[in-house]
């Protein structure tokens, strides 16, 4: 007793270091994760100088340095490094990437004539160009000072041609195909029901569509032919001649000639393509617009579904339900729902939403479609609606718990004042409690959104695909197609990282996609937080 009360220093103060340590470890991990993703994700789009390396065994390598690591088996005190070059020209080299022992690299030079190419097929290429054969037959040698501008002009022309071609094949032919499918289903139905009036009309419609299809095909071919003349004659690292048609080229740059501004422009152009364009080459190149759009739409829909459900449920639980064992069991169940693994919700979504609900909708409203279109389901298969519903169910407990907390945090005095003024319970809830607890409810919705936007496992079962032919949104009524399958950033990361045939080529895209997913979630959250702060400002001074 005496000894312990001697000291004037407060006891237990050392715990502040212990608790601080916990925070530091947590912060360190978060910052580490974010900076890793940020650095790896951003540098994907940056074009560094590309070396020409002479190797001991007589080989020459032209390629962008992708990685450097300690060679497996080398001694810890005398580490030996190896380098991975992205050499491109997959169709010639068999592989886009090459590992080389650093010790065996004799010289590395950065000649100005190394040309980097992004191509429609077979990934990128690093070559030494010799001459440009233009569409009009002129040949411009590399020594000509006008070579670069002529090359860029031809590349731009090729891009325009390709966009025209895409427009025809993807959209116009796609529309014809869709109309044709509809007409064929209608024809089968008419034949089955012996609707003598309709059959000839539909036959004529189908003939007309087939005619249009043939015309569009021809037009597309014409477009392709118009741009197929120009070629780029080059040599690869080994000195082999490589002739690259310009229709194959997406982007061309001289990595060793660019100044910082040029590199920045290239960076911006690549980043722009990444965000606003559609993917190419089994998703390993091109953009992610469909996935960004899909993630965004799905998350917004999920929030729109989960908020009313959760708030209504919480109002009943908190304001109307009789306190007792049943209410306690319900609360415990709701809390446990938050801990159920997400894949379980996916299985439930598939079994109930897709098969039972979707199947019933098809039976009721799309029976013709089922009968005359080889049993092709409309809602009875995975889709945007079922993904949103499944995730809404998964995030429901978050919103319920947050709303209950927010309702119980409304000062008792405010509730009493409302009731004492002669307001009914419902009026009190609607006019006083809900506005006052709106910021708290939004906090729940923010948490739900953050969880929902990053969820992948259940979506794989109920409607996310690797490559969706169309966006869930277009100009055909009803504009938003909740039955369509869609692409999702989270699934894209998984698909790139684990399902890609060329994992080396996919690796940078994994980081870039991850960065984009994080950025999207952060953006959504900032939006919701902004709304919440505006609401809070309205109730400034009130006790919540």
């Amino acid at each position: 007793m005496a000894s312990s009360s001697d000291s004037n220093t407060p006891r237990g103060e050392a715990w502040v270091w212990f608790t601080g340590l916990g925070l530091i470890i947590g912060l360190g991990m978060v910052i580490g994760l974010l900076s890793l993703v940020l650095v790896n994700g951003i540098t994907v789009f940056w074009a560094p100088p590309v070396p020409v390396a002479q190797i001991d065994d007589g080989r020459t390598v032209i390629g962008q340095l992708a990685q450097r690591r300690i060679r497996a088996g080398s001694l810890a005190n005398a580490p030996q490094y190896e380098r991975q070059y992205q050499v491109g020209l997959r169709e010639l080299n068999g592989n886009s990437y090459l590992w080389v022992d650093e010790a065996k690299v004799k010289t590395e030079t950065f000649p100005a004539d190394v040309l980097g190419l992004e191509r429609v097929e077979h990934g990128p290429a690093f070559v030494r160009p010799q001459a440009l054969r233009k569409s009009d037959g002129k040949v411009i040698p590399i020594t000509d000072p006008a070579f670069e501008s002529a090359l860029q002009a031809e590349v731009s022309a090729a891009v325009v041609v390709r966009e025209k071609f895409e427009e025809i094949t993807r959209h116009r032919i796609g529309d014809v195909n869709r109309e044709m499918d509809e007409a064929r289903v209608a024809l089968r139905r008419a034949e089955d029901l012996k609707l003598a009036d309709e059959i000839p009309v539909l036959r004529r419609q189908i003939d007309g569509l087939e005619e249009r299809f043939v015309l569009l095909k021809a037009e597309a071919q014409k477009v392709v032919n118009s741009g197929a003349v120009a070629t780029l004659d080059s040599k690869d690292a080994a000195g082999r001649a490589v002739v690259i048609p310009l229709t194959q080229i997406v982007r061309a740059w001289f990595p060793n000639r660019l100044d910082t501004w040029g590199r920045t422009q290239l960076f911006a152009s690549r980043l722009g393509e990444f965000i606003f364009h559609e993917p190419r080459e089994a998703n390993t190149e091109g953009g992610l617009m469909p996935a960004i759009f899909g993630t965004l739409v799905m998350t917004v829909f999920m929030s729109l579904l989960v908020t009313p459900f959760g708030v209504i449920t919480a109002i009943y639980l908190r304001e109307y339900a009789q306190n007792g064992p049943i209410l306690r069991i319900v609360r415990i169940s709701v809390n446990n729902l938050a801990g159920v693994p997400s894949i379980v919700f996916g299985v439930f979504g598939l079994g109930f939403f897709v098969y039972v609900l979707g199947g019933s909708i098809d039976q009721l409203f799309f029976s013709d479609q089922l009968k005359y279109n080889n049993n092709t389901p409309v809602f009875g298969t995975g889709g945007l609606l079922w993904c949103s519903l499944t995730l809404a169910l998964m995030t429901l407990p978050v919103v319920i718990v947050a709303t209950e907390e927010a309702l119980s945090a409304v000062p008792r005095g405010m509730r009493e004042a409302s009731l004492a003024s002669g307001a009914s319970k419902w009026q009190t809830i609607r006019d006083i409690l809900l506005p006052a607890s709106a910021p708290g409810i939004l906090t729940g919705v923010i948490l739900a959104m953050a969880r929902g936007a990053g969820e992948v496992a259940p979506l794989m079962l109920v409607g996310v695909v690797k490559l969706a032919p169309t966006l869930p949104f277009d100009t055909v009524a009803p504009f938003l197609h909740m039955d369509r399958k869609f692409m999702h950033l989270g699934f894209h990361v998984y698909d790139l990282g684990f399902q890609s045939p060329d994992s080396d080529a996919a690796r940078p895209m994994v980081f870039a996609t991850t960065l984009l997913l994080i950025a999207l979630v952060v953006t959504l959250n900032i939006g919701a937080i902004w709304i919440r702060n505006r609401l809070r400002a309205r109730f400034k001074g009130a006790a919540f």
């Binding site: 405010m414 004492a420 003024s421």
Partner: protein
């Protein structure tokens, strides 16, 4: 608290017209679960008078007040015996909606509790929940109530501003304006000045004097001076029992019970 009874000023009570047993409490007992909070209360409150409930903390005075408009219905596990009638009708009459009771019995709370809405919306809240939509009626009720609550001149230019920007005293007067906006017959005040400074308290007490021309007021207070200043009749409670109920003059000048005298002179409580 001032220990001497002689220094408490008692305002002479002017008997006004009105029913003597406007609020009538008969053999009233009240339980929170197993705990008996009120026991055998019987008192009559005359129309358009101010009645003060005094007593030490936990004596049941607030409980009784909150039963007059059945605010205690919010609490789980309550029960009562006896009866309370207002103008001859029991407040526990199954045919009487508790909402219509509360529309006739306004209430002002210890802690001012304006809604996080504009001043205007606070005042007309009771009318809005009754379904009044006519803008002119609402405007008129707003002005009348704020004038009665002696707040109009201070807030008439900021009716659309948030009520949470007012000062403590203004907020409490706003709550009074809100309570009288739908013209109740009775006004219950649960220690309305306990969180206010003396100037704001003075204003509220002035207000009570003016309001009793129209309303029957029941006020719970911890301040003996306040009870003496504002009330016509005073009831003293102790441990859930009604010790004494009489005119304020009698209670403060010549109480019949020793406990009452001990309490108001500050010897206990």
């Amino acid at each position: 608290m001032n220990p001497s009874t002689s220094r408490i000023q008692v305002r002479p009570s002017a008997e006004r017209e009105g029913r003597k047993d406007y609020i009538s409490i008969r053999d009233y007992g009240f339980w929170y679960g197993q705990k008996k909070a009120l026991d055998a209360i019987s008192l009559d409150i005359p129309e358009r008078q101010v009645v003060a409930f005094i007593g030490p903390s936990g004596c049941g005075k607030s409980t009784l007040l909150r039963n007059l408009n059945r605010m205690n219905d919010l609490v789980d596990g309550i029960s009562h015996e006896g009866d309370i009638t207002i103008n001859g009708r029991s407040i526990y009459d199954p045919g009487l909606e508790v909402i219509s009771l509360r529309r006739r019995v306004g209430m002002v709370f210890q802690k001012s509790n304006p809604f996080p809405k504009s001043v205007y919306e606070n005042v007309v809240f009771a009318l809005r929940v009754m379904g009044v939509r006519d803008r002119s009626i609402l405007d008129e009720a707003c002005e009348t109530s704020l004038r009665k609550a002696a707040l109009w001149d201070e807030v008439k230019d900021r009716l659309q501003d948030s009520a949470l920007g007012l000062s403590g005293g203004q907020m409490q007067r706003l709550c009074i304006a809100r309570a009288i906006a739908n013209r109740p017959e009775i006004l219950l005040m649960d220690e309305p000045c306990s969180a206010l400074d003396p100037i704001a308290t003075g204003k509220i007490e002035e207000l009570i004097h003016e309001l009793k021309e129209q309303f029957t007021i029941v006020i719970v207070t911890h301040s003996m001076q306040q009870a003496a200043r504002v009330s016509d009749r005073t009831a003293f409670f102790y441990l859930g029992k009604q010790i004494e109920y009489d005119t304020t003059e009698k209670i403060f000048m010549n109480p019949s019970q020793a406990q009452t005298e001990a309490y108001i002179s500050g010897r206990f409580g």
